[in-house]
């Protein structure tokens, strides 16, 4: 009986940890803090915070809503795959190749898309993501290459299954690095296109819009700042964020919200004025190119 009571606080701690998060580091921190407080504090309210980043499909759709011609030179060569041997480099390049695949699909470059599918299959294997969670879905893509929309659904599903598998297996950092890789590749496409003399305003506005995503990205990666490879990446992204922070943004306080009860839709009209200088754009482009070079090797 005495042993039972001794075990009870431990059991409560374990339950609290088990029920709150599947992130290993968070668990360790929670376990440490839980061990120093009494059991009544274990019942305190939990606030779980998630940071979401655009998926490879969303980032390419968002950044490439432009009529620029296809430029295969911007893509990461499939031959580079053999260079990636660490979990971090594989995860980051999983994201990069995913964005490359979406870029090819946006421009209906079927052969290129097939090549990138094959690369992604290999990356999932190297990352030890089981076939049913990753590459099995990719087989469906090969059968649906003619349909652009279904490809986007399937690619999203592939990344969703990988994300789910990695988080369930306490590999949240790997899941986050995949998204970071996709974002950096999307930004590389956009900043490369924006550097052209006839760059359209749309693409520049889309780069400005990433101000919010880079903040989310830094917050997400900060969770893993004790890992040296991630810490180095955070330093790089902090520099990008510094430039974004210097961009002048003016919010109009008159936010208008319209809700359509029947359609279950809410529209938010919140005028924002953003002023990004050419120098700021150039600085962002230079940093993005440097980070990408470091990732792709």
């Amino acid at each position: 009986m005495r042993l039972t009571f001794k075990m009870l606080p431990l059991f409560v701690v374990c339950l609290a940890v088990a029920c709150s998060s599947n992130d290993k580091k968070q668990k360790e921190q929670q376990l440490k803090s839980a061990l120093t407080i009494d059991s009544s504090e274990c019942e305190a309210t939990v606030k779980k915070i998630f940071f979401n980043l655009p998926s490879p499909v969303e980032i390419t759709q968002t950044l490439l809503k432009t009529e620029e011609p296809f430029n295969g030179d911007m893509l990461n060569s499939a031959d580079n795959l053999e260079k990636y041997n660490t979990s971090s480099s594989l995860a980051l390049n999983f994201g990069i190749y995913g964005a490359d695949l979406c870029y090819c699909r946006v421009y209906d470059q079927l052969q290129e898309a097939i090549n990138y599918l094959s690369v992604i299959k290999k990356v999932t294997e190297k990352l030890q993501i089981p076939e049913e969670e990753g590459s099995e879905t990719i087989n469906r893509i090969e059968q649906s290459l003619e349909n652009r929309d279904s490809i986007f659904y399937i690619i999203s599903d592939t990344y969703a299954r990988a994300d789910s598998y990695l988080k369930e297996n306490e590999r949240d950092m790997t899941a986050s690095l995949i998204l970071a890789g996709a974002w950096i590749e999307g930004m590389y496409f956009a900043t490369t296109l924006a550097a052209q003399p006839d760059a359209k305003d749309d693409i520049i506005n889309n780069i400005v819009d990433q101000k919010y995503t880079v903040a989310n990205l830094v917050n997400l990666l900060n969770t893993y700042n004790e890992t040296p490879e991630v810490a180095s990446l955070i330093d790089d992204f902090n520099k990008v964020q510094e430039i974004y922070n210097s961009i002048e943004v003016t919010y109009d306080k008159s936010v208008v919200v319209n809700t359509d009860q029947n359609e279950h839709v809410t529209s938010i009209d919140a005028p924002v004025t953003v002023k990004m200088t050419k120098d700021q754009l150039k600085e962002i482009a230079t940093l993005i190119k440097a980070i990408r070079s470091k990732i792709i090797g």
């Binding site: 809503k65 994300d163 279950h264």
Partner: protein, 144 residues
Amino acid sequence: MKKIISILSVAALCLAVNFGAQAQCKTFIKNECKPKLAPYIYNGQMNSAVLNQGDFAELMLTFYSNQDYRIVVCNDGLGDVTFRLLDLQGKELFTNADHNYTDTWDFSTNSTQLLTVEVSVPENNGSEEPKSGCVSILVGFKEK
């Protein structure tokens, strides 16, 4: 020795509880939540946790002006979970409490913004056993 075995048993039980809860949560999300995103494309990020009554969750998300979004907040047996959309200043732009605690709503913005989806699980009213369950916030998007 007995004590070590007991502690190891508890640790094994904890792991089993964790994996069991996570697996159950995944099945719940796949069967009950993801289908509600259609025809929007799932952003691929599993934002889920097993929460107790009175707990909160927040999702920080960029809403791009050239996309429409669907938010699905579903829970496994926790009752009327509230979800609100807040801007950076904390101003409430939407609450499902005004719409019969619906678990699905669509959003559109005319300028790109970082918004917060805040989810709160109702407190225990004291007359029932404390409950915990899977809560998931899923995001879908589509081009305007």
